[in-house]
């Protein structure tokens, strides 16, 4: 199987409202894919649906294949065995994602105790190795520390350590650096990249930050209004975007080489609608300069290699 | 993702219960089935519905329903006076403490923290020992016990308000303390105070009921639910229902005020409000 993860027709609903609609994509084994979207696009929910960790009140249907198994059809017990072992996730807010009243050492050792059956001492030893691997200064003393005693960057390294503990096949990283200072962001991304390589892990990096994706990822998925609107190799999607939304996103990045006085901010007209307010058919239709009556019908994702869901691609 | 409807079932339920008690109390001023003080020994211990006594009669033949209706007046009076005392003293104190920071404010807050440790009932018992036990003593004691609760609350909310930029702006163009207090502090603190009042009302009713039960609250002949419970205790074998009705009235009234407080809290501002004040 060259695909580590294959998602087909994933739909997430809350109440009667669909917030992720018919999302399908595959992750090549060992590859790095960026899932780009603004807040409200449904990208985090997609990741949570894959993990089976949607909040109460949200339901998902579709197919999510990890290797041979369809995660959507597995009983919870089986999913628990997979989570943290073969499939892992790094969350956005390191401050709240770690247990404030439990020592770092215990939290890092936990995956080893759950999935590898190690004793407390063995698990702590492995935990220490992990902390060193993620370049935490003075790891030994940090074992006994609490999350509030670490900096934001250190906490995120710990989160990454926890996620990578059992060398998962697939790692979902949801905005891993958004909550961090700019200077720290680069370090953490670098770490992530290195670890993913060393463990031959398949990465799905979820973010709204395009430059990050262009640096780290070889494939890109663009999400808007709960749907994938463009998919393809990073170089092609950024170099020659097909979907008007992607084009708009790229335009909003001010280039460094333009002269200052001449530089203008370019924005996509309109605002991202709230959950229930996307128009029928193509969700981008009422902000798109190229839209017409045809767009009332949702275009399928077409193309090979580089795909777009648009009746009037760029 | 879900939007909370401001007018919740809690608020409605609370308002209905409280409204019912108030209505009954007011109505009793105009009309009761029988004179609550009218004793009729041959008619003692009648069951509900007998001889026109809708809820029965007590050990002296008095009409239970009339007594309960008249008792509602007493209950509400105690609640109102207690809360008024607590607000009259506590709100200005808390407001000034929020406005004028400094050693005096710290000391007052520390002292009031100690007063907070005095449960209302305990203070009321102390007062009953030292002064003449009665409705006035009880109301004064419970009211005073609540002053630090309101002071703390207003100070806390007041401090939040003072952090706001518009207040800093007002100060830069020379607004005096009193003006700030009236114009900015009090209106913003009002929601918190209203919610706490509902809670305080509920606690005051419970405290007064306990006091009257112990014989240290409202004295005869004024009808009082707490005292009715105490009187019913000697006749649990013959007329157990007499122990049911007054307690039920107390419970429903207290429930009503608690629900009202909860509902108002959701309505007014879930962020600013923090409930202080245990039973």
């Amino acid at each position: 199987m060259s695909e580590a993860l294959r998602v087909r027709g994933l739909t997430v609903s809350v109440g009667g409202l669909e917030v992720v609609r018919g999302v399908s994509f595959g992750l090549e084994r060992g590859g790095r894919t960026g899932l780009i979207g603004e807040s409200g696009s449904g990208k985090t929910l997609t990741a949570l649906a894959i993990m089976g960790l949607l909040a109460d009140g949200l339901t998902a249907r579709g197919e999510v294949r990890l290797g041979e198994e369809d995660l959507m059809r597995l009983p919870e017990r089986r999913l628990c065995r997979l989570r943290g072992d073969r499939l892992a996730m790094v969350f956005q807010e390191p401050m709240t994602a770690l247990n404030p009243v439990m020592r770092i050492g215990d939290q890092v050792a936990e995956p080893f105790r759950v999935h590898r059956g190690l004793s407390r001492r063995e698990a702590h030893a492995r935990g220490l190795e992990l902390l060193e691997r993620v370049r935490i200064q003075d790891a030994q003393s940090k074992l006994g520390a609490y999350p509030h005693q670490l900096s934001g960057g250190q906490r995120q390294r710990v989160m990454i350590a926890i996620a990578m503990a059992c060398s998962p096949e697939v790692l979902l990283a949801d905005e891993p650096t958004t909550a961090l200072d700019v200077t720290v962001q680069a370090q953490v991304l670098d770490l992530l990249s290195r670890l993913v390589d060393e463990e031959r892990c398949t990465l799905l990096l979820i973010t709204h930050d395009l430059p990050v994706v262009s640096q780290l990822c070889d494939r890109v998925l663009v999400m808007y209004g709960g749907r994938i609107v463009e998919a393809g190799p990073a170089g092609e999607v950024f170099g020659r975007p097909l979907h008007p939304y992607t084009g708009g996103l790229i335009e909003t990045i001010p280039p460094l080489d333009e002269e200052l006085p001449a530089r203008r901010f370019r924005a996509i007209p309109g605002v991202v609608p709230g959950a229930g307010e996307f128009p029928a058919g193509c969700p981008f239709r009422n902000r798109c300069a190229r839209a017409d009556e045809r767009c009332v019908e949702m275009p399928p994702l077409t193309g090979d290699g580089h795909q777009a869901a648009c009746w009037h691609p760029l | 993702m879900s939007v909370r409807r401001p007018v919740s079932p809690t608020l409605v339920a609370g308002a209905v219960l409280v409204g019912a008690v108030v209505a009954v109390a007011l109505a009793s001023l105009l009309w009761v089935p029988r004179d609550p003080a009218h004793v009729s020994v041959p008619d003692r211990f009648l069951g509900p519905g007998q001889d026109g006594y809708l809820l029965g009669s007590d050990e002296l033949g008095r009409d239970e329903l009339s007594l309960l209706m008249a008792g509602a007046r007493n209950t509400l009076l105690v609640g109102v006076v207690t809360v008024v005392i607590a607000i009259a003293a506590g709100v200005p104190a808390g407001g000034l403490a929020a406005l004028r920071r400094g050693p005096v404010e710290e000391a007052t807050m520390r002292a009031s923290d100690v007063l907070l440790a005095f449960p209302a009932l305990l203070l009321a018992l102390l007062f009953a020992a030292v002064f003449r036990p009665g409705t006035v003593t009880a109301m004064a004691a419970i009211g005073i016990a609540f002053v630090p609760v309101f002071a703390r609350l207003v100070r806390g909310a007041g401090l939040q308000v003072m952090e706001q930029d518009y207040v800093t702006a007002a100060r830069t163009y020379g607004s005096g303390s009193l003006w700030l207090l009236r114009r900015h502090l009090l209106p913003n603190v009002a929601p918190v105070v209203i919610v706490q009042s509902a809670v305080a009302f509920a606690i005051a009713i419970l405290a007064e009921a306990a006091l009257s039960y112990l014989g240290l609250g409202t004295p005869p002949p004024t009808p009082s639910w707490g005292r009715m419970l105490s009187e019913s205790q000697s006749y649990l074998a013959q007329a157990p229902l007499l122990a049911l009705w007054p307690g039920l009235c107390i419970a429903l009234t207290v429930l009503g005020f608690n629900l009202l407080g909860d509902g108002l809290r959701d309505l007014l501002d879930p962020r600013l409000v923090e409930r202080v004040g245990p039973p």
Binding site: F91 | L122, L255
Partner: protein, 315 residues
């Protein structure tokens, strides 16, 4: 951590001092002349004078205050105005009733509220959760003494299973003593349980929404494991706070309950002292109860410093 502990203990001592001044002030200063309070307004000047001498009222206030405090610290609580006998031995004797009552009631409250609150919190979207929520609302509104009366009506008067009141000393018949405490402890404890359940439920519901629970599940823990290993300790923080408040409420409620069930404890002693205008005993008892409340608050404060490492450092 030890520094802040010492600081907290200092605050406790200061609070006790302030409380004692307040109690003394209310009893001795506010009413004007304590002797008149005790004997009534139509007492003869001669009897008033004798009483004043006996109570040492001719000494200045602050002197009497210091004597009182010094006495208490040595275990001397003065003499009852009525019986002229020392108060201290009486207090100890009554404590053997009130103490066990308070402890058993608290145990009942905790034993009922923890599992119920947990159940309601975990299943808060199901009917069982809502049901428990409704029942616990009753606990806030139902006066404990009324509940006691209802229990007496059912279990003592109608069914005759348990005594309606009175108390047999422990050394006479411990089993009967325990039976005498059953209904009172049930009344107090169950009402407190209803209130506590609400808070336990809220704490469990709150904790389940936290991000670190999601992280724990992402590691592969089941919902229940995540709750047990990560949630409980965090949920304990608000619960311990409430426990302290409820303990205070319980102590005060016990005063009334002792009178419902005619138990010869501190609460009943207080009532009798109030009725007899025995100001010395009243002053001592109120001080004791207030001190108990302040100590409980202190213990709660200390224990959640132990639970929550974040607080240990900030202050």
């Amino acid at each position: 951590m030890t520094v802040s502990l010492i600081a907290r203990a200092g605050i406790l001592a200061a609070s006790l001092a302030v409380a004692s001044v307040l109690v003394f002030g209310v009893v001795n200063v506010l009413p004007g002349d304590p002797a008149v309070v005790i004997l009534g307004t139509d007492a003869t000047p001669a009897t008033l004078h004798t009483l004043r001498e006996q109570l040492g009222l001719d000494h200045p206030g602050w002197e009497r205050y210091l004597e009182w405090v010094a006495g208490m610290l040595h275990g001397d609580f003065g003499r009852s105005v009525i019986s002229k006998t020392p108060v201290a031995p009486d207090l100890l004797e009554k404590l053997t009733v009130s103490g066990p009552l308070a402890v058993i009631s608290m145990l009942v409250a905790v034993a009922v509220s923890l599992p119920l609150g947990l159940l309601a919190g975990v299943h808060h979207r199901r009917l069982s959760g809502a049901l428990v929520g409704a029942i616990s609302l009753g606990g806030i509104a139902i006066p404990a003494f009324w509940f006691g009366l209802l229990l007496v009506t059912v279990f003592a008067v109608r069914l005759g299973w348990l005594p309606a009141g009175g108390f047999t000393p422990w050394d006479e018949d411990p089993l009967l003593a325990l039976r005498s405490l059953t209904l009172p402890a049930a009344a107090l404890g169950l009402i407190q349980a209803a209130v506590l359940t609400r808070y336990v439920r809220a704490a469990i519901v709150g904790v389940q929404r936290e991000d670190f629970i999601r992280t724990a599940r992402a590691k592969g823990l089941t919902r229940w494991q995540a709750l047990r290993r990560h949630g409980f300790r965090n949920a304990a923080i608000p619960v311990v706070t409430v426990l302290g408040v409820q303990l205070t409420s319980l102590l005060v409620g016990a005063i009334v309950i002792e009178n419902v069930f005619v138990l010869p404890g501190l609460g009943r002693l207080l009532l009798q002292a109030i009725g007899n205008r025995d100001l010395v005993t009243v002053q001592d008892l109120v001080m004791l109860l207030t001190a108990a409340v302040l100590v409980v608050n202190f213990l709660v404060d200390v224990s959640y410093r132990l639970i929550d490492p974040r607080i240990r450092e900030s202050r």
